[in-house]
């Protein structure tokens, strides 16, 4: 077919415009879903979510921050096994409100379990944990033997 029906210029196929449209769509998708944990409809991932975490390191401590909104202090389980930190918990929807007149439910409920490899071994007995405004903050003191050692070498 050599004859192409005439269309106004703005309707001509422009490969770059399509690319741009795809990119916009991708950006929109990332915006709406990346920050939200565990897409509910995502088959295998259904019922699972995992909090976003930050890990910081200093000379004496390791600090871990995790976003875990809407939980109670005693519902979060923190444990240390060697150099692995395990965060566990279950976000429960209150029973009394479970069936009652929900118009919209977007918030995510369910259990999470996250194991984090720490940059060095920590003293599990001295871990300081706090939970405020939905953020879990842990300060984990490093074990004496895993702290960086400074050796002074004399130059002869």
């Amino acid at each position: 077919m050599a004859i192409i029906p005439w269309r106004p210029k703005e309707m001509w196929w422009d490969p770059f415009r399509d690319l741009e449209a795809i990119q916009n769509e991708m950006n929109r998708m990332f915006d709406s879903s990346l920050v939200r944990w565990g897409d509910r409809g995502a088959g295998l991932l259904e019922g699972a979510w995992s909090p976003a975490i930050d890990i910081y390191d200093s000379k004496d401590n390791v600090m871990v921050k995790a976003d875990i909104p809407g939980m109670k202090k005693d519902e979060i389980d923190v444990s240390v096994h060697g150099d692995t930190l395990i965060l566990k918990g279950e976000k429960k929807q209150e029973r009394e409100t479970k069936e009652k007149g929900f118009v919209r439910t977007e918030r995510f409920y369910g259990s999470f379990n996250r194991a984090i490899r720490l940059p060095s071994e920590v003293d599990a007995a001295k871990v300081n944990a706090s939970y405020k405004n939905g953020v879990l903050e842990l300060v984990l003191p490093k074990k004496e033997e895993s702290k960086p050692k400074q050796l002074k070498i004399d130059i002869k």
Partner: protein
């Protein structure tokens, strides 16, 4: 290109997202719970314009900055800004809006006006 530009932007300014919400309707009120992690009470604002209620929240500076003396090993959390607007129905009494922030959840209580509340009708003998 736009994606790359966007990422660079994020390092300096917070990413704007819509908070996830649960909305529940009861006899006398409508309860809206929005997930807004790591804010302080001062960083949250609720604005009512006509019948549009806008929730806004900006995470405090302190939480976005790397703690003093620490270096980053791994980072997933990013500075966030929450914005979401809801259109309130006629039955909501706009002078009675109540909000509370606890554990990363903003709970907004919208009371229904007298006329919209269910009334029990007594049966006379």
């Amino acid at each position: 290109m736009a994606l790359i530009k966007r990422q660079r932007q994020e390092e300096t300014q917070p990413r704007v997202i819509q908070p996830l919400v649960n909305i529940r309707e009861e006899d006398k009120e409508v309860i809206l719970e929005a997930e807004m992690v790591g804010l302080t009470k001062d960083g949250i604002s609720l604005d009512l314009k006509g019948n549009e209620l806008t929730l806004r929240g900006k995470s405090g500076r302190a939480d976005d900055v790397i703690p003093k003396g620490y270096t980053v090993v791994h980072k997933e959390r990013c500075p966030l800004e929450y914005v979401r607007t809801f259109v309130l129905g006629e039955e909501i009494d706009k002078s009675k809006i109540d909000a509370q922030y606890e554990g990363g959840i903003l709970k907004v209580k919208l009371t229904k006006s007298e006329a919209a509340q269910p009334k029990k009708i007594e049966i006379k003998d």
